[in-house]
Structure formats: structure tokens, C-alpha cells
Amino acid sequence: MTTETKPTVQFTPERLAKVQEIIARYPEGKQKSALLPLLHLLQEQEGWTSPEGMEYVGQLLGIEPIEVFEVATFYTMYHIKPVGKHVIEYCRTGPCCLMGGEDVYAHLKKRLGIDTGQTTVDGQFTLKEVECLAACGMGPVFQVREKYYMNLTNERVDEIIDELSK
């Protein structure tokens, strides 16, 4: 690669140290294994997985941007379009539905005034539907970043949205 220009996205020094630590986990020449972890690191910092960010991660690992893009788009966790401050990833799978997941989801959509895939006008919330989050006994469930919110009810959803809106 010949890109000499300074990338528009750059990891913080702490994250750059973490990048080195991650790459060292794999055998010589297998640094591509670091791709998924680095994309998570990118999204944690930037809020989404931007084209510039993917190019930057590619440079760090010595792989083409298209390779990064191909991988990032295979997985559901990388937001390859801009998203709101809080991305709510709501489980839509069978077991959660048995626990009333669909009704609670209808309430959540009404409360936020948006549909699946949309972002609120104030940029606070993006709503996504995801598949089973491995918490089926505690359904309905959604996730915001690392945190799981479980045993959801309409009331609980209102509380959580109030908390996150602060």
C-alpha cells in the first residue's frame, strides 16, 4: 500500500498499545486474526465502523481496505452506517417472543417514535433487531454496548430509556 497521508481516524495511545498487545497474541504472520478485535476497538472509539476507520485498521494489519470491508459486513455487530449515541439491539428470536418480547418491542418503538433500523431525530437512539443473545431464560432482552438489559417489561423499558437519556 502506498497511502502516505495521515489517516483521518486514529486510535488513542492507550488503544494503540492494546493493538500491539492483540497482534502479539497470534503466531508470526497471522496478524489478520486481529481483525475482529481491532474492529471492535474501532467501533468502541468511534461509535461506528466507518470507511476511514476500516482503511486505518487495514493499514495497521497490512491488509487491503476491501478485505476489511468484506469481513466487517459479514458480521452483525459492526455498524457500517452512522448510528445514534445509544444503539439498542433488541432480541427478536422465538424464546424471547414467548416471554412477550414482541409486545415490549412495540412499546419501545412507540416510546422512541422510530422503527427498526432508524435513529431518533436527536441522535440519541438507534434501534436494531438482533437474533438470540444467549439470555433466553431472562427474556425479553436487549443490549446496549456491553450491557444486557433483561426481563424487560414496558415499565422497565421506560426506566431504561429515561436513564440513558440523561
Binding site: 424464546p95 438470540c132 444467549a134 431472562m138
Partner: protein, 446 residues
């Protein structure tokens, strides 16, 4: 008291810390293994234990280990499958979050037995907070000399790496997992070659589920024969069951294999019965991929005997009247559940998760989702039920990986046992699409 092999200490406060885990006898199995046993003798104990893979396929773990190729000068790898994404399954999540050191201890023993010096735990990316818990526990174990160079002065070196996934059910399939771990899209590989010969980085590799690996500390401490003495027949030991749906007490339960399904559902010790005022309609016993059974077949075999929670008993009767233990994702439906809606929901899942490499799976899952959607929403055609059966048949056995079968079985079994309910949706669309409407025709509720 029922034997607890995996969860005996899970509720001890602070068990996620090294000190508390150690006080409960933790890491003594590692000491025993690396100081007094050879890798071969560990494999032998695991074989004697008869423990079968807990990720879903039920392949004997000791046998898998003995197939690992051992060419000179080439590294071997152990990869722990913690991708847990099969709908209805949440036991590995529970185990890792509450007792991370148990998995780590199991990884050290298993890696030593296989001669691996770097081992990976591939955790679904959504469980980032569990990854943090595991990494903390690994750092503790390393600080105490149980990981890293020259473990306990034995000359054996091991590094443990936790790898996050990116969100993809298919990466639970072992070869897709290896692709993903190499930083690629999670497309399953053609087999052969099998991972035991060419796995991670084209080196010999064993992939085992979290729960499988977590049995090894107990097996080393108590012996393979003691493990095999628990359970029933070839279903040795205990199994973690993830119980969800319309029961009084959803959660993860460790049972000795061989408990009657009826007891598991109704006893206070486990699910505590169907929620008050409702009746038992159907069961998915082993995760979304296994055939669904109506209540009577879930509880009783064709010969009138009680069906048991074991590999053999759950599959008794084949797909006509039986199912599979699978991953132990136990989903209970009462009479308010619409089988058509649930089948559509599952088929949407498989369509969404198909990697798209083989056309029967890519196209077939899409077809099934579409046809089920139109039946559920009141636009079904008379020939749709037969069409679904036909599509399911065309997928089954014709794909690179078992996701195709996993997508076909729920549909085929739902139609086999609940055909009237599908027919009702097609014949009475107005009635069937009323809010909360559920088929109340002829069926056996318990």
C-alpha cells in the same frame, strides 16, 4: 443429592476470583494433571468418562482428542467454542460469567493433554462483558503460575487467548469459527480435511464446547470411571439445560442425564411446572435446530414409557416421534403459543444466519421464511404446506455444513406434528390473524 459436576460452587460468593475458586479446591486438578499425569493418561480418563460433546453434536470428546494428528514440529491448537448462539441456549454464558476459572482450569488440563501451547477461547462478540471477566481470571491464573511459561515447574508452557466474534451464528460451526479466528468471513470449510488434521492456521486443531471442556477438572480429580457412573447408559455425566419459555422457573439447571422429561418440567427443583392456569403444548428439547415435539410425545415414548433427558431417549423414535438433546436448549410452549409463528420466527433466523455459500441453504431458507410469513399473515396458499415439506427435504443433507439441516428440521417437524394448525391459518386467515389468535382445534395438551 444429585451430583453436581459443573455447578457445585457456582453460587459461592466471589467464586469468579482466583482466591475463592482456589479455596473451593480449584486448580488442584491442574496440579494433579501436570505434575503426576501424562497427556496420554489424561486422554484415557476422558475416554473412560464417555463425555460427549456438549455443543450439540454429542461426539465423544476422548475419541475426538485421540484423532488429533501429531506431526513433528507443527503446533497443535485447542479452540474452545464459546460462540453460543443457538436460540434457546444460554448455559455457556451462565457458566463463564459466574465461574470463569472452571473453564480456564479445564482449558489448561485439555491443552496439556493435547500438547497445545497456545489455546483460544472464541466467545460471541455480544458477550464482551464476559470476555472482560475471562481475561481478568486468566491474568489471575497467570500471576499464580497456572498459565504462562513452565507451569508449576512442569516445563509445560501455555498461553490462553480470548477472541471475540463479530456477531454471526454460523461461527459456532467449528470450521466457520476457525475461519473467523483467522480474521475472515465465517464461511464453513469443506470437509475433509477435518480440523484434527488441518484446523487453525492449517495446523491440527481440536474444537470443543465450553461445557465439554469444563468437565475435565472433575474428571481428573475423580477419575473417568466416576464420571461414567453418573448418568444413564451412553449418556454419561451431567448436562446443563437452558430452560426457557412458558415455565415457572426459567434458568440453567445441571441435571444428571436420565432424569424423566416430566420431572424436569414439573419438579420444583427444575422448571417448576407450566405457568399457572396454562397447559403444556409443545417442546423444543435441544435448541431451535432440533425437531419440535407435541406435549404427549415429549413426555412419553411410543411404548408408553417415560421419555428421559438423555441422548438416546430423546432421539427414540427417530424423527417420526423423537427429537434430540442437541445443545440442551429446552424451550417450553403452552397453549397460547402459535406454532406457525414460532416456526416462521425460527426460519427467519436461519435465513438471516445462512452464510450463503450453498444454494439449497441460501435459497431454501429464504423460501421457507417467505412461505411461512405468508401463511402466518393470512395469505397462505393451499399447496404451501406441501411446498414447505418439499423445500425442507431438498435442503436436508445437501449442504456444506449442518446449518441447512438445522433450518429444515424445525419446519419439517412442526408440519409433521402440527399440520392442522398450519391448515387452519390457510383456511381461516381472518380468524387466524386476529391479535392474539391461536389455533384451539384438536390437539393434546397436558
Amino acid at each position: 443429592m444429585a451430583t453436581k459436576i459443573l455447578t457445585e460452587h457456582i453460587n459461592v460468593p466471589g467464586i469468579e476470583t482466583f482466591d475463592v475458586y482456589r479455596k473451593q479446591g480449584g486448580y488442584t486438578a491442574v496440579e494433579k494433571a501436570v505434575k503426576t499425569m501424562t497427556p496420554e493418561s489424561i486422554v484415557e480418563e476422558v475416554k473412560k468418562a464417555g463425555v460427549r460433546g456438549r455443543g450439540g453434536a454429542g461426539f465423544p470428546m476422548g475419541m475426538k482428542w485421540s484423532f488429533l494428528a501429531k506431526p513433528e514440529g507443527i503446533p497443535r491448537y485447542l479452540v474452545c467454542n464459546a460462540d453460543e448462539s443457538e436460540p434457546g441456549t444460554f448455559k455457556d454464558h451462565y457458566l463463564m460469567k459466574n465461574n470463569p476459572h472452571l473453564l480456564i482450569e479445564g482449558m489448561i488440563i485439555s491443552s496439556f493433554a493435547l500438547g497445545a501451547n497456545t489455546s483460544y477461547i472464541y466467545v460471541r462478540g455480544e458477550l464482551m462483558y464476559v470476555i472482560t471477566i475471562l481475561e481478568k481470571a486468566i491474568a489471575e491464573a497467570k500471576a499464580q503460575g497456572f498459565l504462562g511459561k513452565n507451569i508449576l515447574g512442569s516445563g509445560y508452557d501455555l498461553e490462553l487467548v480470548v477472541q471475540p466474534g463479530g456477531g454471526a451464528y454460523i461461527c459456532g460451526e467449528e470450521t466457520a469459527l476457525l475461519e473467523s479466528l483467522e480474521g475472515k468471513r465465517g464461511n464453513p470449510r469443506n470437509k475433509p480435511p477435518f480440523p484434527a488434521v488441518k484446523g487453525l492456521y492449517q495446523c491440527p486443531t481440536v474444537v470443543n464446547n465450553v461445557e465439554s471442556i469444563a468437565t475435565t477438572p472433575w474428571i481428573i480429580t475423580n477419575g473417568g470411571d466416576a464420571y461414567a457412573a453418573v448418568g444413564i447408559g451412553r449418556s454419561t455425566g451431567t448436562k446443563l439445560i437452558s430452560a426457557s419459555g412458558h415455565i415457572n422457573k426459567p434458568g440453567v439447571y445441571e441435571i444428571e442425564l436420565g432424569v424423566p422429561v416430566e420431572d424436569f418440567i414439573y419438579a420444583d427443583e427444575w422448571c417448576g411446572g407450566i405457568r399457572p392456569g396454562h397447559k403444556f403444548k409443545a417442546l423444543v428439547a435441544g435448541g431451535s435446530s432440533v425437531p419440535i415435539l407435541p406435549a404427549n410425545l415429549a413426555l412419553t415414548l411410543a411404548n408408553g414409557e417415560k421419555r428421559l433427558m438423555s441422548y438416546e431417549s430423546l432421539s427414540e423414535g427417530g424423527f417420526q416421534t423423537g427429537t434430540m438433546l442437541g445443545s440442551g436448549g429446552f424451550i417450553v410452549f403452552d397453549e397460547t403459543a402459535c406454532i406457525v409463528r414460532n416456526t416462521w420466527n425460527f426460519s427467519r433466523f436461519y435465513h438471516h444466519e445462512s452464510c450463503g455459500q450453498c444454494s439449497p441453504c441460501r435459497e431454501g431458507t429464504g423460501w421457507m421464511e417467505k412461505v411461512l410469513h405468508r401463511i402466518e399473515y393470512g395469505h397462505g396458499h393451499q399447496q404451501d404446506i406441501d411446498l414447505l415439506v418439499d423445500v425442507a427435504k431438498k435442503i436436508e443433507g445437501n449442504t456444506i455444513c449442518p446449518l441447512g439441516d438445522a433450518a429444515a428440521w424445525p419446519v419439517a417437524s412442526a408440519i409433521r406434528h402440527f399440520r392442522n394448525e398450519f391448515q387452519w391459518h390457510i383456511d381461516r386467515p381472518t380468524e387466524a390473524t386476529q391479535p392474539g389468535a391461536v389455533y384451539r382445534g384438536e390437539m393434546e395438551l397436558v
